[in-house]
Symmetry: none
Subunit: 284 residues, 2 copies
């Protein structure tokens, strides 16, 4: 595993990218014949870049076997308005020590986290249109692109909940597509936050299907601002999208028991502001 993990550039990967863009990939990788053909047609340059170990979307955690398996599924999160650069650095140090999947921070702290996590397995994760999702698609796209350029490997965008409620589903899908298309690197993971606590079950399913169709790699249960993640929501989301995309649970997760229940319900990743407490064994 790790450095020898093969990155697959499929037709679907290339289909997501904007015409004329550059796809940066790290060795070892494999471009399928149909992907190469589509890339040629869309004038997309597949460019090999040096270094790094960023795994592809949906890949299993890769930390040392001695590490807690749960830690590898956790995104240690700090999205408080009042968070400082020093707090972000401390969170990054802890993430590397414990072996968390990554650190999720606000956009202005992407450079700080990228520097602090350089050379480690922990990924830089940030949010986009957060937490209301009610800003313009082009602003979300610009924000996501800037985050990717500064080192974010994963982007958690908030879907436009009000447009979903209003039933203008084409606009909802286009919003996610706009962000997907703004991302230019092959392995950049896009998560679409559906904000489940505000939705009916029917709306939750619609949001997941739209996000998957628009090219999201993950659907994420919530921002944490509207309510907690539930196992029922995670199970419904997993049912809605099958194995096409992954599920991230987030919102009010503070104990190992909660995290394990959400993983059992179908979540691949856990977002929490209490990451250290969640992996602690000294709790029930």
């Amino acid at each position: 595993v790790g450095e020898t993990e093969l990155t697959l550039i499929s037709e679907a990967t290339v289909a997501r990218l904007a015409a004329g863009s550059v796809l940066n990939v790290r060795k070892p990788y494999l471009v399928t014949p149909s992907a190469a053909e589509l890339a040629k047609k869309k004038r997309i340059q597949i460019k090999e870049i040096a270094g790094g170990t960023r795994p592809a979307a949906g890949e299993a955690p890769q930390e040392a076997p001695a590490r807690d398996e749960l830690a590898g599924r956790i995104e240690s999160t700090l999205l408080d308005a009042a968070a400082t650069p020093d707090q972000v650095r401390a969170l990054c140090r802890e993430a590397v020590e414990v072996g968390f999947a990554g650190v999720c921070v606000n956009p202005i702290f992407v450079p700080v986290a990228a520097e602090a996590l350089a050379g480690s397995q922990a990924r830089v994760i940030t949010v986009c249109g957060f937490p209301l999702g009610a800003n313009r698609s082009e602003i979300k796209a610009a924000e996501a692109r800037a985050s990717e350029a500064q080192g974010a490997a994963e982007i958690d965008m908030v879907m436009p909940v009000g447009l979903l409620k209003a039933g203008t589903l084409v606009d909802v899908k286009r919003d996610v597509e706009a962000v997907r298309q703004a991302l230019t690197q092959a392995g950049t993971v896009l998560k679409a936050i559906i904000e489940a606590p505000l939705l009916s079950d029917e709306e939750k399913v619609a949001a997941c299907v739209l996000a998957a169709e628009a090219g999201a790699d993950y659907v994420k249960s919530g921002t944490g601002f509207a309510g907690p993640a539930t196992t029922a929501d995670v199970a419904l989301m997993r049912q809605a999208i099958g194995d096409r995309v992954e599920v991230k649970a987030a919102g009010g997760i503070r104990t190992r028991a909660q995290a394990e229940a959400l993983i059992a319900a179908g979540a691949s990743r856990i977002g929490t502001s209490s990451a250290a407490a969640v992996v602690s064994h000294s709790q029930p």
Copy 2:
């Protein structure tokens, strides 16, 4: 009552004010002997000013504004993630009927509000970098510019609270400047949200001064996400910036009494999601 209401400058009024400050008062007023003595000791100048209805910071409520007068100070606000275009239209109709200063909505609804309020006195107000303020200055600038282009007359931006906490005040000022410079139309109002519930008094004053220096027209107490507006915060903000800029109070304002107290403390505008209830006379 009303214009003939006497303003009492008591010892308690003066005790609240900073040494060396100026207390602006309108006729008719009365300064108690002990207040005059304390003012002298604290080098506080009691200055009589003409016209207007805005009382000085820390002053007791002068009068209960008539219904229309209060309505004209209220920004009817709907920033829920799940708000729909129809809900925005209904809010706009109500704002025109009641005579609110304007309607404050999320960026994607600026075109909806602009259409609904066309030809009326009510202004289109929107937010920027809301509610965390922890995204990039250039993204805030782009968002504000897009809102202005689509018809927003006022932009309520969130200042970078974490950078203020970290003490990198130059970056805080530049953030507000970036948004100010992005606005191209004379008359577009910029409000800088300091998020007072997360700040120390010293940080509140620093945020107000930086916002004023960066060209904000208003300082605004909060987003509503971190806690309610308080009269103490509004008085402190007014004291910090004097008459250079205006003060908007927002966060948890649900009654006429609250709104009137905040206006008495120095707020020129009130942001509330309960605008109709606030102007109603059928409450205590």
